[in-house]
Symmetry: C2
Subunit: 327 residues, 2 copies
């Protein structure tokens, strides 16, 4: 078994470990989210951490009713014109904690006296040292280049921050029930995997699963080298749908919830164009706000199977390394 498949299978226990070890710490650092002078949240991230950041954009936005924005790291590094961050709570997300541009944003915020939180699996990484508070991802060492359990635990850490900072006991108990649901989803997805043809395709979602679409497309792309892309159902309809025609594979992330009606409209339009639409099969009964933690799994499994089919080594994707250092 590949390292990647081992790590895929470790996800329920990795999430359990995060919840066991970090619920108390999260409750403590949630005070930063509740600071009266926080008017918006600014997230710095790259790669699959940016897909997790999209989850934070919806979840923390809904929880705290503040906008959640993404930093433009090049303003801090290349252009050397960092913004004034009055009113910001800054969150850096980096699985390795090594990303220099993510660290640069957090350092600048801290120098400006703003609250900063690092979400990282590298508990003593440069990012962790730069931030005022750290929420370690507790995923254990991840050796495969393609992130699985660190991605899931990034979502778990965001969900945990949501539950503890809103003081919503119901949400916290839903989250604590989730490792078992992740295990069920894993079993379901391994038993009835989506089999993709080795050709390019599109992953579509909307609302809270927007980042899930990006993560699934990235996983397929990293592992098999096939061109997959992600779109919000709304953005796709504003032009890019023109490239989608008969037989084009579309994976749809469409759990029950407020985004479902909009997804159904888009999927009907895609089907009318002759696209080959597959809805990812998800375990039932997971609350919508936690659906990204299960919905990514059938995509991870599909990506691994497709990589096998094209003869790629899932532990050594073409030309990639575990830590990417962009300036």
């Amino acid at each position: 078994m590949s390292r990647l498949e081992q790590e895929l299978a470790e996800q329920p226990e990795a999430l359990q470990r995060l919840l066991d070890r970090q619920t108390e710490n999260a409750a403590d650092l949630a005070r930063l989210l509740r600071r009266g002078d926080v008017r918006y949240v600014l997230i710095a991230s790259r790669g699959s951490s940016s897909n997790a950041a999209r989850y934070a954009q919806y979840l923390l936005g809904r929880a705290h009713r503040v906008p959640v924005a993404f930093a433009t790291p090049s303003l801090y590094t290349l252009y050397e014109q960092p913004p004034r961050l009055d009113g910001a709570l800054v969150v850096g997300i980096s699985q390795s904690g090594e990303s220099p541009d993510v660290k640069a944003v957090v350092e600048e915020a801290r120098a400006q006296g703003r609250p900063t939180i690092a979400l990282t699996n590298g508990a003593s990484s440069p990012l962790a040292r730069a931030a005022e508070a750290v929420l370690p991802l507790e995923a254990g060492e991840e050796r495969a280049v393609a992130a699985t359990k660190t991605y899931l635990n990034s979502l778990g850490a965001i969900a945990l921050l949501f539950a503890v900072s809103t003081g919503d006991e119901g949400a916290l108990s839903e989250l604590h029930a989730l490792p078992a649901r992740v295990a069920e989803q894993l079993a379901l997805s391994l038993e009835e995997p989506v089999e993709l043809e080795p050709r390019p395709g599109t992953v579509v979602a909307r609302g809270i699963n927007y980042g899930t679409a990006f993560e699934i497309a990235l996983k397929i792309r990293e592992l098999s080298g096939l061109l997959f892309e992600a779109y919000s159902a709304a953005d796709l309809m504003h032009g890019p749908v023109a490239a989608i025609g008969p037989g084009w594979p579309v994976l749809a992330v469409a759990p029950p919830g407020p985004a479902l009606a909009s997804m159904r409209d888009a999927l009907a339009a895609l089907a009318a164009r002759g696209a080959d639409v597959t809805e990812l099969r998800l375990v039932r009964g997971v609350p919508e706000w936690l659906s990204p933690l299960v919905a990514v799994i059938p995509g991870q499994v599909a990506a691994i199977r497709l990589a096998r089919r094209v003869g790629a080594d899932v532990d050594a994707p073409s030309g990639l390394s575990k830590v990417t250092l962009t300036r």
Copy 2:
């Protein structure tokens, strides 16, 4: 000649008209940008207006040293949980001004007493009526489905806001010299067009031209139905590059400026993978902050030529309509 090519050719005069008619109005509404309680800018947009919004993210961020964030319209519409917008200046960008979700964000901001500006070619559109202040794009009627002059004038309006709100006379005179440079760029690009093979590809940029990459990819995709995608040079290196191999077409937007070194690194890595990298040829001497207004043009021209090559009707792209109403 197609309507699209007429509108492509009208861009210098459309930009000139915007500057002639709106410089005074822009100077007046720039007071909203300078309000002491503005801690960040929040932009709502869809489609090619979102590509213009990326220009605003860099330019207004650098000018006012405040973060520029993108709204998540579904929080206002589908989820009905709009954020508190204390500290926000809200800008809605919609070429038609008809987009219901963009209007919803602006309406919510106005109801919360926040300053709002609409950038729209529909000077009496629903978006224009919803906002406290309007900067009309003055592009004239745009009949082709694919936006050209409204896109350019969206950038022009953002550049104008930058120049007048910072009170930078040098910047304002650089901007006022730009219609002539746009005309030169148009002549250069029509004379020496990039000829693309009818196959999928990637557009790469970084920093202030990040949105240019998205707009060029969208234009190619809308007009020819070929799959083109856009990436920041930094994000591409974090995994998605795995799908790029020998012969893969890469268009690079790489004008001189702070982002050039990072672009050179990425282009070298792409060339090492065997990608077929073409740097878009740009007229010289345009200041970096205005480079997106010329850099999009060779992409527009390449998109039209490619559409002709695949036999597409550039005035009636497959399955698209001029105004897309997403809820």
